[in-house]
Amino acid sequence: MYPQTYKYTNDHEWIDLATGRMGVTDYAQKQLGDIVFLELPEVGKTVKKGEQVGTVESVKAVSEIFAPVSGTIAEVNAGLAEKPESINHDAHGSWMVAITPADPAEAQDLLDAAQYAELTK
């Protein structure tokens, strides 16, 4: 269900530490329902762990996206913003931004796949 190679937050984001790419989890997309809108930051923006990096909106709700780690926005997936409904079909393949981590030690606080699965049980 949850890729073993990713790390997860209590706020339902995933991050692939190998590439810095992040998105929201399958659990999050199910809670939101039909996703219709995505607001993403500019490349180069610096973010702190737990700070808002964007917004994801479904027909019925608005949800903030938080940075799993501190760092700099290295990439933004503009294609996904054009087709935000992709998140409903493949949440773990739908990366929103890539973050270049400022402090690799921060990643130690993140959940692994088993811990995240337990959290959302």
Binding site: G33, D34, V36, F37, E39, T55, E57, S58, V59, K60, V62
Partner: protein, 348 residues
């Protein structure tokens, strides 16, 4: 599931957008049994109904229904409702579940001076199932002897559906062709299952409160608590078509007549977002930098795939094309007034 007015309600079944699209292209089935029913009967029933509702119930033939307002002396809404004429001196009100308690108290109070009329809360006698969408008639026709093609918009007929006693009403809250079916509660599940199994090729899907809200928004149908309440007048809500000016006195008429003569200060409009953003219920609306109101309803809807909404604006600025701003979580996003409704079903 979500609790709404004391009812455990399905928000969505297979997904809001899927259900919304099914209603626009095939058919969706809604359980709206939470809606409240009040019946007024007696020789003076018509006079009482004319007194407490804004539309002209005297124009209703037996077997016909109308959208109306249950008005306050200020010309605002106690509730909005459908008024059905069951017989010369027998009417059925269908009201919002969330208002049922206050509505029934208000209706009873208004009816009492009329003498020969009794108001009865009959909500427990009816389950209400809505089948909405272009395939609704063909699907339902397989389950009833009532000639559905002969039921015009806002008319109803009594008969049976799937062997169950039912009143079939050509009404709905989706902007789509369809029917609402009143049945005894103990038989409602039988009717529900029969409709879902009637015609597998039609692919009727169960639809929840979520799709009901986005469908009615596209059709610009007002929602009590959003567009209308006891602070908004019938005219401000741009519903003059439910004011029976010719029928004489009714509660709130004087205020409405005065408002019509002097002109409104604000009116409900429809809008589309110009900037890339979604305006939602409660977001503040700005004109020339000043806050002038709030968004009453708004989202990006599944069929039109546009961020749309409704809001009250100063009447001088309600012309289609007028631009204003919505505060979307701290950012001002541009919106433009457009004519209502957003969606009209294709004729034919």
């Amino acid at each position: 599931m979500a609790v709404f007015a004391g009812w455990d309600m399905p928000v969505e079944y297979s997904g809001l957008a899927n259900e919304h699209m099914a209603v626009r292209t095939r058919a969706g089935l809604f359980d709206v049994s939470h809606m409240g029913q009040v019946e007024l009967a007696g020789k003076d029933a018509l006079a009482a109904v004319e007194h407490m509702t804004s539309n002209d119930a005297g124009k209703l033939k037996i077997g016909q229904a109308q959208y109306s307002g249950l008005t306050t002396p200020a010309g605002t809404f106690v509730d909005d409702l459908l008024v059905y004429r069951f017989a010369t001196d027998h009417f059925l009100f269908v009201v919002n579940a969330s208002n049922m308690g206050k509505d029934f108290a208000w209706i009873t109070e208004q009816a009492t001076p009329f003498g020969d009329v009794s108001a009865v809360n009959t909500s427990a006698r009816y389950a209400l199932i809505a089948l909405q969408g272009p395939a609704a008639r063909d699907v339902l026709q397989t389950l009833t002897d009532v000639d559905l093609g002969a039921i015009a918009c806002y008319w109803f007929a009594h008969g049976e559906v799937a062997g169950v006693r039912a009143t079939i009403s050509r009404t709905g809250y989706t902007g789509e062709h369809g029917f609402e079916i009143f049945t005894p509660p103990q038989s409602a599940v039988r009717v529900w299952d029969a409709i879902l199994q009637a015609d597998r090729s039609a692919d009727v899907v169960p639809a929840g409160l979520g799709a009901r809200d986005t469908l009615r928004l596209e059709a610009a149908m007002r929602l009590y608590g959003n567009e209308i309440d006891d602070t908004t007048t019938v005219l401000e809500a741009d519903l003059e078509w439910i004011v029976g000016w010719d029928k004489g006195e009714f509660i709130g008429r004087a205020v409405l007549a005065d408002q019509k003569a002097r002109g409104l200060s604000r009116r409900l409009v429809g809008f589309e977002m110009v900037d890339r953003a979604i305006a939602r219920h409660g977001y503040d609306v700005y004109l020339d930098g000043a806050k002038v109101g709030t968004v009453t309803s708004g989202t990006k809807t599944p069929f039109l795939k546009k961020a749309i909404g409704m809001a009250y604006l100063p009447v001088a600025r309600t012309e289609p094309g007028t631009e204003f701003e919505v505060d979307v979580r701290g950012r001002r996003a541009k919106a433009r007034v457009v004519p209502l409704p957003f969606y009209t079903r294709p004729k034919g």
